[in-house]
Symmetry: C2
Subunit: 452 residues, 2 copies
């Protein structure tokens, strides 16, 4: 069992956590709240930053704390159409007042939304099932892939994180301390475009997938799926070169296995290039799991897929999800989707993302600690290194930047196995003025941390 | 793998499902909607009743369909404080407009609610973690129990249903077609107070638990937990005699294992006797999972437990749940809890439940197909049998009653391995007038199905 294994608390969980030893940094009211919180919630509940944010309200790309201080949110991808987006607020309030029930009754909303959602996906993805979280979607995706292929083998990347269930802890090395003790899982290196020494990252990555599948077969385990998010977010954010995933997905399909696109991070126009992350690579995902930004914070998630694959599962295995597809979650999801489409959000994501990346590239001049600036749309990674030649991760410097930004009321965090990649992943309504504020504040912080 | 095994579609999933062959019973608009729904959602999505309900709005204990017909809801436990409860609607709308974010920021709401929730539980349950569904809570409970005990063995009852994840499919024989192919799981008979021939159901059930634990040990598997809901809802509803679980829980603790109380069904005053189902039996649960009624339909769920057990997990295993404990779900949960407490809901649940049970007992006179009437509070089971001497389940008669009630705009369903136990489990705001309408309609239906 993974849960019995020693664990390393990596970037997803602990890189940027408040430590109780810093309690006296806080005002008395926050100290009290931290202690009450600790007493009732226990140690699983960590807080971000040396000085945690006491969040009280939000609007667009901003949070406001208990003192009324405005804080630029360059981190949160769940409220993707903005904190307290009025269209989502109105849709949820209206549906709450009308009806909130499950999928065993005929309802117009879920049918209409499903058709709208499927219209954003390639034609071969014709069917969708609803859950309450990306975790439930990925857990279901693995069950479905195993039933469809008759195989058990799952391949994931070295710092992947796919969710919270027991099954997903086995395929999430980011939280399981390396190789999980599960002989059906194989872990391959991430396609680290900054550090891997290759002319052709696609061929290199496809070779890693092939080796993993061959190793599974050599151990008598038939491959079921490659499970990956197409920007490799928890591995350190590696979206490029665009298209590099195609060779790997060909390997997957040649083995009769499925490509499960975990779109919890790159989906819903996050990358600014395409509605779904896997589309950037021109690949045909077989199953598409989605979550976080789908309902702007109301729990709602889904698994879309080839209809024949979902139908096979549906006929063989009884599956019912009480809250999954409930009327209010669907209303929230529909409002989000319509906001994305009616505002042409993808265009501003692309523009603002490019602005941020080029701005940081300018800040990097003369500052060797910025080893690499990469990303797609509003998912930007800044690789902080102690030496640009060795490319050695500098977690201390990265966390210093993160906390210095937080002291200046700008929120970002870190990603990657080295806890050294600045993770800039704001609500998608982040515009040019927010990008300028982010860049100016980062410039100040870098002047302090790494003066030219 | 359970998912590879042949499955029996039992009561939870299929006992009361619409069949596409009955499509022409529906009006043209509903036929179209059923076909569109089938095309986009696939065969996992079943509908209740020969004539599905096209639900459009709800209020209190009533649903309204597309024709404006008022339908008495004697089935749904999720909207426990009533469909479209105004207090919950207002709380969600207000919080949505203010802030909806995750638990890595300090927030007052989650701390305040956690303290209120823990105050409803025995003193030894001092800590709580949040998830999005009873499934996520039960999945987490098993991981925690295994880590704490160092054992793997889980014991569940014959028709138990504990959720949708891969791990839970292994401990949910109701959906896995009998004994799951997992050598760490043992399945024991349900404490069927109607059919088991014993003077002392508690001693009998404790013996079953002891045998299962001893069998685990004989196979070198250390017991981790007994996982049960204290009214054995999917087994056929067996809440009595009150206190019978005590001996079994003693056996569990004597083995160093944990009792996980799955309170998704009996919690939040459903039984009318105590706030939590396990309290009716005077037992000390170690972990308490909760879900369905917690937020009146907004996805929110939790796992409470002995603080030392949750803390052990929290220190050893990184766990973060993106939507779990989000501001809006907590606001919904808080409104539900405050409604339960401020209206003294438990008293009306007890009174109305007793009214329903005594009313059905009267209807049973001279009608031998009603073999047994049982329940606690607003969870009532009516055992429909073909012969009161053999007590043979009569699924056809039970489903006939369910569908005849539905045609008269009263919603119930069936439970139990024989699909023959009428499951009456209305929103908790079900009052005397609703009980009278239910009983009068049931009387009419029985006159038709089983005239005296």
């Amino acid at each position: 069992m993974t849960t019995d294994a020693p664990v390393s608390l990596s970037s997803i969980m602990d890189g940027n956590s408040f430590r109780i030893a810093d309690l006296d940094r806080l005002a008395p009211a926050e100290q009290q709240l931290v202690l009450r919180r600790q007493a009732s919630l226990g140690p699983s509940y960590r807080l971000f930053y040396r000085t945690p944010v006491h969040a009280v309200s939000g609007s667009g790309a901003y949070l406001f704390d208990a003192d009324g201080t405005r804080i630029l949110d360059a981190y949160n991808n769940v409220p993707s159409v903005g904190h307290a987006n009025p269209a989502v607020v109105a849709a949820v309030a209206a549906q709450m007042a009308k009806l909130n029930t499950h999928t065993r009754y005929l309802q117009d909303g879920i049918v209409q939304y499903s058709e709208q959602l499927l219209a954003t996906l390639p034609d071969h993805i014709g069917s969708v099932m609803y859950t309450n979280s990306g975790s439930e979607s990925n857990d279901l995706a693995i069950r479905i892939a195993r039933l469809w292929t008759g195989g058990q083998g799952i391949v994931v990347t070295a710092e992947a994180y796919h969710g919270t269930t027991e099954l997903l802890s086995r395929v999430s090395p980011a939280i399981s301390g390396g190789f999980p003790d599960d002989d059906t899982v194989r872990i391959i290196p991430a396609p680290d475009s900054y550090r891997v020494d290759t002319e052709d990252l696609g061929a290199w990555f496809a070779d890693r997938v092939r080796e993993a599948f061959e190793d599974l077969l050599a151990h008598g385990i038939r491959p079921a799926a490659l499970l990956a998010d197409s920007i490799f977010s928890s591995d350190g954010i590696y979206p490029d070169p665009r298209g590099f995933l195609a060779d790997a997905v060909d390997v997957v399909h040649a083995h009769g296995a499925l490509f499960i696109a975990d779109e919890v991070q790159p989906g819903f126009v996050r990358t600014g290039d395409t509605f779904w992350g896997f589309e950037r690579h021109g690949v045909a995902a077989d199953l598409v799991s989605m979550g976080k930004p789908m309902g702007n914070g109301i729990p709602v998630a889904a698994l879309a897929g080839r209809p024949e694959i979902l139908a096979h599962f549906g006929k063989e295995v009884p599956y019912f999800n009480t809250f999954g597809g409930n009327s209010v979650s669907i209303a929230a999801a529909q409002a989000v989707l319509e906001f994305i489409q009616s505002t042409d959000l993808i265009t501003s994501v692309r523009t603002t993302g490019a602005l941020i990346r080029s701005g940081i590239a300018s800040l990097a001049e003369g500052r060797p600690l910025i080893g690499d600036v990469r990303g797609a749309g509003l998912y930007v990674g800044v690789d902080i290194v102690s030496d640009p030649d060795t490319k050695a991760p500098d977690s201390a410097a990265a966390l210093g930047i993160v906390n210095a930004l937080r002291e200046r009321n700008v929120l970002i965090s870190v990603a990657g196995p080295g806890n050294n990649v600045l993770k800039i992943r704001p609500p998608l309504v982040f515009g040019a003025s927010e990008a300028e504020l982010l860049l100016a504040t980062l410039d100040d912080v870098l002047d302090e941390v790494a003066p030219r």
